[in-house]
């Protein structure tokens, strides 16, 4: 196999990319083009590699998001426990659909891949806080605290 060229996404220079992106999101709420270009420069990676990685993760938004990001799990167990009713409940409460941000910039609603809380399906996260065993009725109370 020694005659084969090695392919890795960015190779050595990609080391620590995720933690760099994560701390940028913590500081600036989302990853702007300037931020990603800066990280690419620091890590000696092309822009497309950084964008490719960032756009894969729901936790690394590449577009401006609201102050609070509601990430509703959209995977099979949550779907089976009627996550669409929960999404509808959220939409009724704050008037936006998945992928949208409220006009006052308070909330962004997103459907994301498994958040690892299948035992509490249907589940969602608001920022870093997990909410499980949701029903449409519980939504208003939860959102009120934000």
């Amino acid at each position: 196999m020694s005659d084969k060229k090695k392919t890795t996404a960015g190779g050595e220079s990609g080391a620590g990319l995720l933690s760099k992106l994560k701390s940028e999101v913590e500081r600036k709420n989302y990853l702007s083009r300037e931020t990603m270009a800066g990280v690419a420069g620091q890590s000696d990676l092309p822009l497309n590699s950084v964008y490719g990685v960032a756009s894969f993760y729901a936790y690394l938004p590449v577009f401006p998001v609201g102050k609070n990001v509601i990430k509703v799990c959209n995977c099979l167990p949550c779907e089976m426990k009627d996550v669409p009713a929960v999404v509808e409940g959220i939409s009724r409460e704050i008037g936006i659909g998945p992928g949208q941000t409220t006009p006052d910039g308070k909330f962004t609603l997103e459907l994301v891949s498994c958040i690892g809380a299948c035992d509490q399906a249907p589940a969602m996260m608001i920022n870093d806080k997990l909410y499980g065993d949701l029903t449409a009725e519980k939504i208003a109370g939860i959102l009120k605290s934000y």
């Binding site: 084969k4 060229k5 822009l47 497309n48 964008y51 490719g52 990685v53 756009s55």
Partner: protein, 213 residues
């Protein structure tokens, strides 16, 4: 490194240790279809059409990334292999949208060729949102029509490992996965020059030379 002996479709084959099943088959005149493999580069194993049956293995294995090992018994065209490849091609056709679906001259599309070889008809799967991206015509060297892209990643690899440019990556995830350049922008002439290596490797009509008007 030594050699290993394996049997592919009843044919005794002797190959260098470390060779993949695909390499062993090709060296001995046995054809296995593949979309994502580039000879000489590390396999990605994403397209799955090169699957074969190996005696003793519960599942089919990707021949492009499975090394041949001593005494291996490989079958490349059993009913199970053919049935599996048919579904894989059918799934790919589902996401392979654009005018080439109805284009009788789509002869350069390896996906359509394989679909007709394996007698795969119109895909039976319904998708909520068809995969559609407008064709990108702005680059003077490459025309990208990503609706036809089957995400084999050959262009990404060829750009990175053969052209040593690295202007393409896979962005997003799941159904939204897409080959992106820059911040998911059209390929600029500064980023992408006229090496044309990606076009050469694209199995479908997703990458081509610009259409002269």
């Amino acid at each position: 490194m030594g050699n290993v002996n394996i049997i592919i479709d009843g044919k005794k084959v002797r190959v260098r240790e470390g060779s993949t099943i695909l390499e062993a088959a090709e060296a001995n005149g046995i054809t296995i279809p593949t979309f994502c493999n580039i000879k000489g580069l590390l396999p990605t194993g994403v397209c799955r059409v090169c699957v074969v049956e190996v005696q003793g293995s519960k599942t089919l294995v990707g021949s492009c990334h499975t090394p041949a090992s001593e005494g291996m018994l490989v079958f490349t065209r059993t009913p199970r292999v053919v049935a599996t490849r048919k579904v894989i091609v059918e799934l790919m056709l589902t996401g392979h949208t654009g005018d080439c679906v109805n284009d009788p001259n789509a002869e350069n599309c390896k996906l359509h060729n394989l679909a007709s070889d394996y007698e795969v008809g119109a895909p039976r799967f319904n998708v909520k949102t068809p995969r559609f991206y407008p064709a990108e015509e702005s680059n003077p060297y490459v025309r990208r029509d990503l609706s036809k892209c089957i995400l084999c990643r050959k262009c990404v690899k060829a750009c990175q490992d053969l052209a040593r440019k690295n202007v393409l990556s896979i962005g997003y995830r799941g159904f939204r996965s897409k080959v992106v350049s820059g911040f998911d922008e059209e390929l600029t002439a500064e980023a992408c020059r006229d090496c044309l290596i990606c076009i050469e490797h694209c199995p479908t009509g997703a990458l081509g030379k610009p259409v002269k008007v």
